[in-house]
């Protein structure tokens, strides 16, 4: 990385953090610290909501996902606009009416303290874990690709965000997020334009898209109903709606964003803003990945995108085997280039048959390419059993470092760090607020001065920051980082959402039934997930039935189970009393 890149990156990041600290230097009450004086306008809320959701993983992993499997991941977000509408109609007005600090506070008015503490604890558990992952995931990628020491990367990734979040609370989060989101959007537009300009000049833009399409990278929609398929239209619309209802409606890191709004109208508009822009934004990020794929069809692509793994194997006894596979891969790539050129030439002349034949050849060579890459991954794993062989998270950053102009590299790295900080700051602030409001103030120190709660909020932010950093340092790597975050979320979100929906829509259900229903439902969701992951099953009519359900559906299952179980228990209880 050049000096100019370092200057651009550090000036952008430290400038935003410094501005956040300076702007919020007068925050001196617990309410101001936790809810930020409730003065945000809709566009600021919208940007803040988007910035909270978009972590660094989004920008590292998502283009790589499109590079590998195509753009189908965009379907994951299809339920989001509907979730925004449902929240605007049913949920936010209730939060405003009760003037709550946290989402869980609302539950006590409906079900009593145990349910409030249970849901707040589930949130703390999963969000505390996710906060560590939010720091760890990009740190691993950046340290391996840049050659930075992992612990120092984690430290830099975490320490500045902890400082400004502790300093200004939710207000600092909002102030910095607005600017971070501007950097993110600017970086995204710039990256898209530069990638398009880098595409081979011998083809029109439409032809490069045809290459991506015919090689299966523009598969945005899949209408086939398949419970085990992670990303299709139905899992996005149904499972996704429940996931986003839960994430935006009950996860304090998001609830605190729109509760900082000046009024109900501003909060609702903030959600609408998110509903309008989120899918197009994800589409653009995935599209960038598809374009990088096309770029590498005409330029030498690394045999493996994780440089650290490559360097390690080149120093090992497997180096000759690796070199052999690399040479084979280069030959396949050059044959594929030729086949793609034939395919486009046939398209230009309108020769459908020749185009089809060339496409078949391209796809066969792509299959060979995939196989050779799988062989290389196997070689890496044989050399080092601990090595994370999945390299899709390294695709975009490798492209940026090798083909983006000086200065832009710094800006794009600032974009990745901004994304990491924007989500981490929200998470830390929400963890601290929930700990103080739902646990500390409610159970341990019920009556103390505003100053005391303000100080405790700051100390809990430091504590959660420490927990996240510690987790990031000691945690094991996950096979796919973005999926790990979503899977963890799906284990808890459905149940939390079920409790909230029961509170909103099943008026007859009392606190005891909701509490027990939530506990049983959580146990069932974890059991279903564990059974699917470990291929466990049960004997039904003499046959072994293995339950394998894609994780998005766990949101729906958890939610329905809580509502159904609590309703049944309440009904049984009432009928017993009547008898």
């Amino acid at each position: 990385m050049e000096a100019l890149d370092w200057t651009v990156m550090l000036a952008t990041l430290l400038g935003i953090a410094g501005y956040g600290i300076w702007k919020t230097r007068h925050v001196n009450s617990a309410q101001s610290y936790m809810l930020g004086d409730r003065d945000l306008k809709w566009w600021s809320i919208g940007l803040s909501i988007m910035a909270t959701q978009a972590s660094a993983i989004t920008f590292l992993s998502t283009p790589g996902q499109a590079y590998e499997d195509g753009m189908g991941f965009v379907q994951f977000y299809f339920g989001l606009p509907l979730a925004m509408i449902i929240l605007s109609v049913f949920v936010i007005p209730n939060y405003y009416r009760l003037n709550v600090y946290t989402a869980y506070e609302f539950l006590e008015t409906r079900f009593g303290l145990p349910t409030r503490v249970l849901t707040a604890s589930l949130f703390l558990l999963q969000r505390g874990f996710a906060a560590g992952l939010t720091i760890l995931a990009p740190s691993i990628v950046l340290s391996q690709i840049m050659g930075w020491p992992l612990n120092w990367t984690i430290f830099f990734m975490g320490i500045i965000v902890i400082i400004y979040t502790v300093s200004g609370g939710t207000k600092a989060v909002s102030v910095t997020q607005t600017q971070q989101m501007v950097v993110i959007l600017l970086g995204l537009v710039l990256a898209s334009v530069l990638i398009i300009l880098n595409l081979p000049k011998e083809f029109t833009f439409g032809e490069t898209l045809t290459v991506a399409g015919k090689m299966g990278k523009l598969n945005v929609l899949d209408f086939k109903f398949d419970l085990s398929n992670r990303y299709n239209f139905w899992s996005g619309m149904l499972g996704g709606t429940f996931l986003f209802l839960s994430y935006f409606g009950t996860d304090q890191s998001q609830v605190s964003r729109y509760l900082s709004g000046k009024s109900l109208t501003e909060s609702r508009l903030g959600l609408m803003f998110n509903g309008l822009l989120k899918i197009p934004m994800q589409f653009v990020i995935l599209f960038v990945g598809a374009l990088v794929f096309v770029f590498y069809q005409f330029n030498p692509a690394p045999a493996h995108f994780n440089r650290a793994n490559v360097e390690q194997i080149q120093r090992s006894s497997y180096a000759p085997a690796y070199a052999g596979l690399e040479t084979q891969l280069q030959q396949v790539q050059s044959q594929r280039q030729e086949a793609i050129r034939e395919m486009i030439a046939a398209e230009r002349s309108g020769d459908v048959q020749a185009s089809g034949a060339a496409q078949t050849r391209v796809l066969a060579l792509q299959g060979e390419d995939k196989q050779l890459r799988a062989d290389i991954r196997e070689l890496i794993a044989r050399n080092d059993k601990e090595a994370n062989t999945k390299d899709t998270d390294y695709v975009f950053i490798t492209y940026v470092l090798n083909f983006m102009p000086i200065g832009v590299v710094g800006l794009l790295l600032a974009m990745i760090f901004s994304a990491a900080w924007s989500s981490t700051s929200s998470e830390l602030n929400a963890l601290s607020t929930t700990t103080v409001v739902d646990i500390y103030r409610r159970i341990f120190v019920k009556k103390a001065s505003d100053r005391h709660y303000l100080h405790m909020s700051k100390w809990f932010t430091v504590l959660w920051g420490g927990v996240a950093l510690t987790f990031a340092v000691v945690a094991q790597q996950f096979e796919n980082l973005i999926q790990a975050v979503n899977i963890i979320g799906s284990l808890f979100y459905g149940v939390i959402l079920g409790v909230f929906l029961t509170a909103f829509f099943l008026k007859r259900v009392g606190g005891r039934a909701a509490f027990i229903g939530a506990l049983i439902a959580e146990a069932c969701v974890i059991a279903i997930f564990v059974m699917g992951e470990n291929q466990f099953g049960f004997i039904f009519l003499g046959k072994l039935v293995v339950v394998k359900i894609a994780y998005l559906w766990l949101n729906l299952i958890g939610c329905v189970l809580v509502m159904g179980l609590s309703f049944l228990m309440q009904t049984a209880r009432v009928s017993r009393v009547v008898k």
Partner: protein, 46 residues
């Protein structure tokens, strides 16, 4: 801790389109158009 009691909760219309229902409908129509666009995009280049 202090509480904020001046939060507006009722009788607020959106600044555009007149009613909230129209805003929600706009969002749904926008998504439907987006999906149609995706479909066209996918079909055109594959």
């Amino acid at each position: 801790m202090t509480t904020n009691n001046d939060m507006t909760t009722a009788g607020e219309g959106p600044p555009v389109l007149g009613t909230w229902n129209k805003v929600y409908l706009f969002l749904l129509v926008f998504q439907a158009m987006l999906l149609l666009g995706f479909y066209w995009f996918m079909r055109s280049f594959s």
